[in-house]
Symmetry: C2
Subunit: 370 residues, 2 copies
Amino acid sequence: MGAKSLPSTRIARLQAKLKRKKFDAVLISQPDNRRYLSGYTAKDHGIQEPAGFLLIPANGKPYLLTDSRFTLQAEQETSGFEIAIYTKGLIKLLKKLLPQIGVQRLAFESHYTLHSTHSNMLNMGRKISLELVPTKDMLEKMRLIKTEEELALIRESTRINEQVFQSVYLSIEPGMTEQEVALAIDLTMKEMGAEGPSFETIVAFGPNAAKPHAVPGDTILQSGDIVLIDMGLIYKGYCSDMTRTFVAGKPDNQYLERHRLVRKAQLAGIAALKPGVTGQEVDQAARKIFDDAGYGKAFQHSLGHGVGVAVHEEPRLSPLSQRTLKPGMVVTIEPGMYIPEWGGIRLENIAIVTPDGCEVINKDTTCLDL
Amino acid sequence: MGAKSLPSTRIARLQAKLKRKKFDAVLISQPDNRRYLSGYTAKDHGIQEPAGFLLIPANGKPYLLTDSRFTLQAEQETSGFEIAIYTKGLIKLLKKLLPQIGVQRLAFESHYTLHSTHSNMLNMGRKISLELVPTKDMLEKMRLIKTEEELALIRESTRINEQVFQSVYLSIEPGMTEQEVALAIDLTMKEMGAEGPSFETIVAFGPNAAKPHAVPGDTILQSGDIVLIDMGLIYKGYCSDMTRTFVAGKPDNQYLERHRLVRKAQLAGIAALKPGVTGQEVDQAARKIFDDAGYGKAFQHSLGHGVGVAVHEEPRLSPLSQRTLKPGMVVTIEPGMYIPEWGGIRLENIAIVTPDGCEVINKDTTCLDL
């Protein structure tokens, strides 16, 4: 987490919200929300092996609930939290703790609570007269608009990410495998001060670039191949995300034409991004470029997504997104074209929505305009 | 996945089970189960961004449900599956597909279905007269006993993991950081043919080893420091997991005494591991060694866990585990001692439960018996 000051301000904002909604407390299970509110960085091993939960009462001290493996880390990374250890699982601890601190109406995160956990909580709740209320995106809404402090961290995360890209870009040559390039990226990220990648680094050569979520394999780079690199890192808890596509050697005319179309779609998305429009409208502005050129079916995913403590968060720039964009939101703009057997091209930058439009925070221009 | 033959046998076994339980189909959302049944290796970006689902009817062809980003990969990696693409989410696709294939009673994985997804499925289900039945561990039970083919893959995964450890072990010297050692391990894993680590590699120096789940940082190795390395890799879909602890340079008497106690606890666990006993009993056999020596509180976690397509699976060797062990189960035996400010020692091997007892599959003996 950037500064120790961030979490305590956030807890205060959340507690005000809990009072308005007449919740006695909220149980936080979503790991990005957990870190956002506490600064605690321990990672889950999937939702089935969580590294902890937060119990935030509307009044009084917040709790971090975890097991004994994480006691030290929890104490070191948080301030102002009561650390409570469960030895026989979360439910038994809640059964004891909730009546102690007078919680009768408990909100929980419906979108990050397992059906089985909820069933167990219902059973436990009957014994202590607990009312359980699902919430959908209380924290995600708080995270939508970034503060200046958060924007500075996203900018810095992006700056380092570009440095890593540029450093590895210079070393790429025919004969290397996708895995080698991906490893060089991950290695350089840590050397340059990142916590690690914000998602599994994508490096795809030639026809492999036709898979939007390609996993780096042992394909060897040949001169003339397409190279698609999608990478991001975490810096003080904040993510970056950038994609560049180019050709090893000299691109042919077909590549150039398609690349320019993707870039044109990206610029159309950027031009459409401003306060007051919906995610759908921005997506549509870029999608139209593909449709008009007869490439509509080759653009298979959404135009972009929010970036912050999570690499994929709200707001979405998708054909279904009705959310209205506001200043301080941060999104990727990443049109892509995927043609089986030929390959793919994706170009991705990050933009901050400003009062007048948006600001692209990327400085890297490697192979953007060909 | 090891061999193309594995998934089809598994589907047949599952379909027989569905018929016995009178389910028309089961929806598989847990990613390890998904890969186990289909061979499809795409990874979720957390439970909130799944790479797909399986819909296995009691009769007829199984379905893989995913979005268009994964179409190619799904086609390449599976055989005998119908690939169905959702463009407006899983629920809308199910609403169309379930009546088409005559599913009225659908099982779902309670332990890997979000409360919010279940709510949406209930709403959808009302419109098509669908009965939803939670299941707890149908697939996890199938995965408990490994076939000879699976055991061979776990042995090979372990063999490579030990090779990686031994190679990196020789290069460790004062002046290196935890991160450098961890990176060398991850890099060597890929060089030696692994898909990647089976969990985030743990390298902890000195007092950092007091955290069972330490994250490698920029701590520099000093002569005389404890070095704890916990590492595992994935080979053809099967996991390994091993921990070694040693001292950089000459261990002092206190270290030697504590290390020998941990090893004694490990051997006690191995001696207790046989068909017919519960996970709890094996855990207790090792825990008693610590208790008797006055170190009971320093052993803060369970003795071990199952290993297979997931690095942490059933059966657990924990103080709470009532499950009876049977031949063909595979577990780690990993007692640990954690002393804040001093450090920690954990020793971990993998054992297969055999008809007579167990077989430790590790060959590596580096710094086990000091």
